[in-house]
């Protein structure tokens, strides 16, 4: 296989005199000779020297002479732009002489003649405070509209799935049950165990002064089962699975998978959102139950090893303090938190637009919003319980 000759690259003179600007005053004309290489390699040295060319006075016109230019590229155009800025500032006309063909080509390619004096890439000035405040309020309302509309859609589809169980994607639901529930058990268990341990230890410091060590068991059990168990589990799952829901769906949106589902006649929320929601609502209450058990085990360890309680005493005090209502109340709360986590995770995923950064933004936003809503709803539950 023999290759044919390639075309010769644009030619410049082979001699390479040192680059620079040579200024000559010819009558009333300031002649600036571009000498040697005026290109990427030399422009950073030449640009700071442009101002010195205009110290010669007086002159009426400026002429740029390319006769001694051996190499010129679009970085050379930067030098011309700088010269033209000075010429405009002084109000003097500018012309080019001895323009080689290579230079013409570069000037044409870069559209030098069409360049406006002010570069167009300065950042636009930000709007004033009032405009920004207005835009923020409008955005908040629009966002609230989207959130409520998505919530309505999710609820309707959930009811639809209850009436038509065959429409639920069982394989996906089981997969999400595993990733949201089973895979999260070790971390939820460990955190709850340590939390129970810390609570028991801290409370014992106070209760031991009154000889009320045994009430450490009551404190740990009540605090964990009705408050901290559901809230800690929900926060861990919001960070672990809620963000994953958002990131997965956002990525699918960016890679047009959601559009593909739509064109094939699937409802993307039913296809992607409902299995996640069902999985979360089934698994998070169960995880909460495990969290309660692990926390009580943590408290038991402190009680037995540091407070001279027997395991039987500790457990009987725990069971005496707890009512079935407390356990059910905690699981009911965690069911609501599960709904919030899956709702926000899916919503942020579906809202994502743009590139890779949108995926990160969706994940972060889902965690922040979920945790806020979990705390908000926990407060509402606390108020409601005070009336029960």
């Amino acid at each position: 296989m023999e290759a044919s000759p390639p075309p010769a690259p644009p030619s410049f003179r082979s001699s390479e005199p040192p680059p620079g600007l040579i200024t000559v005053l010819d009558g009333t004309t300031l002649r600036i000779r571009l000498h040697g290489r005026i290109d990427r390699a030399t422009c950073s040295d030449i640009l700071p020297r442009v101002s010195a060319c205009f110290r010669v006075t007086p002159f009426e016109t400026i002429e740029i002479d390319f006769s001694e230019t051996t190499r010129f590229d679009d970085y050379g155009v930067l030098v011309l732009l700088e010269i033209r800025r000075y010429a405009h500032r002084l109000g003097k006309p500018l012309s080019f002489v001895h323009v080689a063909e290579e230079v013409s080509k570069i000037l044409e390619l870069t559209g030098f003649d069409r360049m406006i004096e002010r570069s167009g890439i300065d950042k636009p000035s930000p709007p004033n405070v009032l405009v920004r405040l207005g835009a923020f309020v409008i955005e908040c309302f629009q966002n609230a509209g989207t959130v409520v509309s998505f919530l309505g859609n999710l609820m309707l589809l959930f009811l639809y799935v209850l009436r038509h169980p065959a429409s639920l994607r069982y394989d996906d639901t089981v997969l999400y049950m595993r990733t949201t529930g089973v895979d999260a058990l070790p971390i939820v268990g460990l955190i709850s165990f340590l939390l129970g341990l810390i609570m028991a230890f801290m409370s014992s410091l106070q209760l031991a002064q009154f000889g009320a060590n045994v009430f450490v068991a009551s404190l740990v059990a009540l605090a964990m089962v009705s408050e901290l168990g559901p809230i800690m589990t929900a926060i861990v799952i919001a960070g672990r699975s809620g963000s994953a829901y958002a990131a997965e769906i956002a990525n699918m949106g960016i890679s047009e998978e959601i559009d593909a589902l739509k064109t094939m006649g699937f409802d993307p929320v039913l296809f992607l959102g409902i299995p996640r929601m069902v999985a979360a609502m089934l698994m998070i209450p169960i995880l909460t139950l495990f969290s309660d058990i692990f926390a009580i085990a943590g408290g038991l360890l402190v009680g037995v090893t540091m407070l001279d309680l027997t395991p039987v005493t500790y457990m009987s005090q725990t069971l005496k303090s707890l009512r079935l209502f407390d356990v059910v109340w905690g699981m009911l709360k965690s069911g609501v938190f599960a709904f919030l986590i899956s709702w926000i995770g899916c919503l942020r995923g579906f809202q994502a637009r743009g590139g890779a950064s949108a995926v990160g933004h969706a994940a972060t936003s889902s965690v922040v919003t979920s945790i806020f809503l979990i705390i908000l709803f926990d407060s509402i539950f606390a108020v409601v319980r005070s009336y029960l």
């Binding site: 044919s4 390639p6 075309p7 679009d74 559209g111 890439i121």
Partner: protein, 260 residues
């Protein structure tokens, strides 16, 4: 026999007995060719024949199993397994999906290599970005994010970034893939203009026949079964003169056997 100008010129890219693959799969085996300064060189072939793999090896993103690659006399990769900063400044790459950083505006994307390698004042950088975007007809889109652009505009923006340092060699991976014929022809014209005005050597990976016939001064054709080059030369001559069945099928758009 007279010596052709090419034979007198030192190649700017020299690939010698390159073997490449992923895992247990050998995709290219003993590929050798040269690219000369200022030419538009096209790597063509059917899907899965290793065009993009070859390109990734030449630009140093993959390490060859065997063989050597030299750009402007320097080995790719160098002994420490990296590509030197000097070589990186000599090459510009337009990726198939443009490779623009999604969180940055077009101006910021184009300014990236300029800020990295040149010590210019902020005003000069802005001017240069403006010039580069003007070159690719994207004036006025400086503050747009890549996600706000069409496919053709993304390609042109990627081209502006690849051109930021006036590289000696421009590598373009499927520059007109997925574009309409008008946009595609526009990209081809732009490539020709840049080659003509700036003398940039172009190495293009494509299987778009129209682009091949418009742009290429010399091509190599890769084949999946041969794991290497099955034809080399002027595409117009290959189209008429080649006796190789796959080359004929390719240039005459004839269906071939998928089971090859």
């Amino acid at each position: 026999m007279s010596v052709s100008p090419m034979q007198k010129t030192t190649p700017i890219i020299q690939v010698d007995r390159l073997s490449a693959g992923y895992g247990d799969t050998l995709i290219l085996d003993g590929v050798s060719f040269s690219v000369f300064p200022g030419e538009i060189f096209i790597i063509l072939g059917g899907s899965g024949c290793g065009k993009s793999t070859l390109l990734r090896h030449i630009i140093g993103l993959e390490i060859p199993r065997h063989g050597t690659i030299h750009i402007d006399g320097e080995p790719i990769p160098s002994e420490d397994g990296t590509v030197s900063s000097a070589v990186l400044q000599k090459i510009g790459v337009l990726f198939q999906s443009s490779g623009l950083i999604g969180s940055m505006t077009l101006a910021e994307n184009v300014a990236l290599p300029i800020r990295q390698y040149l010590h210019l004042q902020e005003r000069s950088i802005r001017d240069m970005v403006s010039l580069k975007l003007r070159m690719v007809d994207l004036e006025g889109y400086e503050h747009h994010l890549p996600s706000q652009l069409s496919g053709g505009m993304k390609k042109r923006a990627g081209l502006a970034r690849a051109l930021a340092l006036n590289p000696k060699i421009l590598f373009l991976d499927e520059p007109s893939a997925g574009l309409d014929p008008i946009t595609s022809a526009g990209i081809d014209r732009l490539i020709l203009r840049i080659n003509e005005s700036m003398g940039t050597t172009m190495v293009i990976v494509t299987h778009e026949l129209e682009s091949i016939m418009t742009l290429a001064q010399r091509v190599i054709m890769l084949d999946k079964a041969a794991r290497g080059i099955i034809a080399e030369g002027d595409p117009h001559r290959l189209k008429i003169e080649s006796e190789h069945p796959i080359v004929r099928q390719f240039f005459h758009r004839q269906a071939g056997s998928e089971t090859r």
